[in-house]
Symmetry: C2
Subunit: 261 residues, 2 copies
DNA sequence: CCCAATTTGTTCGTATGTATA
DNA sequence: TTATACATACGAACAAATTGG
């Protein structure tokens, strides 16, 4: 990766915002504007620090935070890269369903295999009021609706209803969706240049509807967890609204702090 | 806080474990063994670094991590203290229920008032197999059982069933429990010297039972979220097992990452 | 209100260790 | 083996917040 292509501007002491915060913003800006896409290897620390006119220590403090936020990935001897959703780490960062362990034998945690996703529907539609409010678009704006079913260890564990703006994801087709080699967030990133950085999730209990019950192979009205997720990119801009109905007969919804921060 | 009272031993370069990790362990050891209890102000960085025979920068790196893990609290100009559960921050660190916002008007987040806790039961009993496995004790060992009901903004939002070892919390009485000025974790800390550092939570959906339905003022069988929490202290030792039944009619269970890491 | 002492926060620069290709 | 890049460690200087006089 060429240092000039990044378009970095030297930062200056303001007495208000610390230098390392400004460095962080500069790096984020370079990534957001696509001057330095996912997977790219950044110039080494000495070069970056020189370009930004700060010491290496200050640069490191900025990148430290970006690494913690999963924006960058650093590896000793190799270099620093912009994180991609193909890194395994990310998959579980946004997937919070795990097989329920046997409490009497908690030593052996059940191994969670990769979820198998089955697409049950793909449509173009108009956004409802709520969807529009969540996605920062107008009611009636065109959206894609995706219905997925997730299997884990042979069990039907979740049904996802995904809503995304068809302006943001122009040209998405069912075929491209089905042909994706990795997760849907990796698809967002590689095909549409949209990187999901974090997600807000709120969970509530709800009985399964006729639709979700059929999808999960459960009787109608079985208590299930309904997770409402808003996926956010840079600047906390919402890019996806997803409602997951989780079958908790044999699996749990796991809050992230449990995963050892 | 006297530097000698901390019982810190100088760390040495091993070539295996980084110095700052050893410093961290030393500080943790001093806190765990009670040589430096919650709320205590540590000696300043220069003194600490000298006692541990490392540079200030190395000491800071260790304390940085402890601050991130909420073990220490640093404030410019004041000093570094061992975290207590009286800090407001902690209350919400372990309380994950929020009023559901209006999705059409998400600007104005509903203000979450402090939950009002009502004790509905306090008993001495024997641990079940599962409780024993979770708490690292033997089945039949004596435990306290506490039944609490939580009100938020006038709504009954949760019923907690709390199980703790009565060996660990020897001398706990209903009166001392009811008279606590702050949260129950602050009580654990101030009265029994047990600091809850983090918690593992797993959630599942379940219909309310006769008992929980009555507690929450809901019809029997209403879908609710059942949160199983194990609270951990130093060394990830379990100290409390709690099953919360959350009424999600007007409130959500919020995963922690949503709270802006 | 301001001053001075104390303590953490930020920034710099350098040297050396360690993983990678 | 060598070169590269990140990881760790040191020490110094100044800025900013807090407290007490």
């Amino acid at each position: 990766m060429n240092i000039d292509a990044l378009g970095l501007v030297p930062v200056t002491a303001t007495g208000e915002v610390p230098l390392y915060r400004q460095v962080k913003r500069e790096l984020l800006r370079s990534i957001e504007t696509g001057r330095c896409g996912p997977g790219k290897v950044l110039p080494n620390e000495t070069v970056l620090a020189a370009a930004l006119e700060v010491s290496v220590g200050t640069l490191r403090r900025a990148t430290d935070e970006l690494v913690h936020e999963h924006v960058l990935v650093r590896r000793q001897g190799k270099g620093t890269t912009v994180a991609t959703h193909t890194h395994d780490r990310f998959l579980f960062h946004f997937f919070h369903v795990e097989p329920r362990p046997d409490p009497l034998d908690s030593d052996r945690m059940p191994v969670s295999h990769y979820p198998v996703v089955e697409c049950m529907g793909f449509d173009k539609d108009k956004a409802t009021l709520i969807e529009a409010a969540v996605l920062w678009i107008r009611a009636g704006d065109p959206v894609y609706r995706i219905d997925n079913r997730l299997k884990l260890d042979g069990h039907l564990v979740a049904h996802d209803h995904i809503v995304i703006s068809s302006v943001l994801f122009k040209g998405l087709t069912e075929k491209r969706l089905l042909d994706r080699p990795s997760t849907i967030y990796a698809l967002y990133q590689s095909e549409f240049g949209i990187t999901v950085l974090r997600a807000q999730e709120r969970a509530r209990a709800a009985g399964t509807t006729r639709h979700t019950a059929r999808m999960l192979g459960l009787p109608v009205g079985t208590p299930a967890i309904e997770v409402h997720r808003v996926a956010l990119t840079f600047g906390d801009k919402p890019v996806e609204y997803r409602v997951s109905t989780v079958n908790t007969q044999h699996h749990d919804y796991v809050s992230l702090l449990s995963k050892r921060l």
